[in-house]
Symmetry: C2
Subunit: 313 residues, 2 copies
């Protein structure tokens, strides 16, 4: 569904139809009222949206609900290839959520991965992969944000992913914004292989950028991942394997019968409509807000999704 930020209304204000701009001064009357983010989305063209790429979309099921991730093949091709292999070997089906740490991550894995007798085999997937923490910035189709990010010299979006970059190092990487998914690792930088993944469920922990391989972004189902019970202890791990919340099914979109595929679209992040949406977020629009932030950050911009009439056949 489209995601736009909403101010916090007192519930009785929902029926209020006051248009504050009618009371504006002569100077303000000369400015055309800004279009709201909701209206920019409503008025968008079909070409402002795109379907999910079946080979790069992982559809999991938790508590009977879909959790859908786009895989960032441009940024982490080896990890993404391994995730495809793990998915197709059935590795994730029957794995589960093993950790929920408030304002940080929800992490899933094979709950028995430390037990040689019970650990799931990797099938055709590789146990060892190189670290894929960043890619070259040169020639990357990055739609840049004008506002300073703070954590990196440059920021913007690529393929619906929030991206930070350092031109001096010719490096670009996916930023650890809400909903972004990474590959858990041990102390060795090259010790992730996709068998355990995590999604950010709170304030973007940008200090993780360039410390770990980011593999994609959840486009539907963050409401599921973020509302799971937090685990005890500081790191939020569930204590026993049997407490893991099962991932009852995990398939690539490509391997789902067309009529079962979720019928959703994601907004493109390389169009004037997207640029207008970002710009609108920098201003106080509508009767509620009184002050414009005149600033935005990649982690404050959720890329909208919407249902489509029918799945692509």
């Amino acid at each position: 569904m489209p995601f736009v930020s909403h101010p916090v209304f007192a519930r009785s204000a929902l029926a209020v139809a006051v248009v504050v701009s009618l009371a504006c001064t002569a100077t303000q009357a000369q400015q055309a009222p800004r279009t709201s983010q909701a209206d920019i989305i409503k008025q968008s063209a079909a070409s402002d949206w795109r379907r999910l790429d079946p080979e790069n979309t992982l559809v999991m099921e938790i508590h009977g609900k879909p959790v859908i991730m786009e895989l960032a093949a441009r940024f982490a091709p080896l990890h993404v290839a391994n995730i495809r292999a793990l998915t197709r070997s059935g590795y994730y089906t029957g794995s589960g959520v093993v950790r929920v740490q408030d304002n940080y991550v929800t992490q899933w894995a094979d709950p028995h991965d430390e037990d040689k007798a019970k650990a799931k085999p990797l099938g055709t997937a590789l146990a060892k992969l190189p670290a894929e923490f960043s890619i070259p910035l040169k020639d990357l189709p990055l739609t840049r944000f004008q506002d300073a990010d703070g954590w990196a010299p440059v920021s913007g979006f690529v393929d619906g992913l929030p991206v930070a970059a350092d031109p001096a190092q010719n490096q670009a990487w996916i930023a650890h914004c809400y909903g972004v998914v990474g590959a858990a690792r041990g102390n060795q930088p090259d010790s992730s292989n996709g068998t355990s993944l995590y999604a950010i469920i709170g304030q973007a922990p940008r200090a993780l950028d360039l410390n770990i391989t980011v593999v994609g972004r959840v486009v539907q189902g963050m409401d599921v991942l973020s509302s799971l019970p937090r685990g005890p202890g500081t790191m939020g791990f569930y204590e026993k394997p049997e407490q893991a919340i099962p991932i009852t099914r995990a398939r690539l979109l490509a391997d789902m019968p067309p009529r079962e595929r979720p019928a959703i679209e994601v907004m493109r992040t390389d169009t004037p409509t997207w640029a207008a949406l970002v710009e609108a977020s920098r201003h106080a629009v509508g009767p509620w807000a009184v002050r414009s932030a005149l600033h935005s950050n990649i982690c404050n911009r959720s890329v909208p999704t919407r249902a489509t009439a029918a799945p692509e056949t």
Copy 2:
């Protein structure tokens, strides 16, 4: 409990005791290894912590668990006085969570506040208050952050609250970081009175700063507020009053018998220990991280809490 960010470990790495610094170069060997945030907290003195102020602490109960808020009397004295009055008149007891919008807010209110027959009376609390969006920066004991915030010219902490400021306007305000609590309002800037409050449960929506009165911060219980089921629809409101999740009890700490009071302390944000904690967060410390962010933001710094041996009598 103390809150420090933890990198995402593959679970098998928890037992790893590799100290990577042993393999470091001669240059690195000359630098004293940095103390981790966890160790800074462990090594802190008693004077680095403070008890909660009983007149400025609201203790609610949801699903049998405490949700504890510090009230920001310095920043919103009239709203805080009204919240005390509402609490003491029993207004919040029996109210409930009416809205949970993913990556945004959990909001609570009297579920029947639009029904004149059923709406709870305000008791001695006022129905109308002035807006309290900011206070003067002059003479505010703000412990400043060195890194640029982006959303405001200056940022730092006051009384455990994340604060942004504009010296040119002599204004300071509480930033809408995770766990911060504000007073819901209608379209009129002065239409909040504390009868409906919200807590931030996702990426800090800093565009709300200076648009609404912020009244405090949750110091314990965000795990409860953040894990509630999201409401349907874009704004996450629960559809019917009977779906509200009850706040079964709400009292000021001052009105609780001492032996019932939660035994917790909050770290002070005006000490060298706090400054050291903030500085440590800017660096890759320990065997896992490979790259230092060399940046921090007020919304990335959670003020630690810890249990104490016994409540203050």
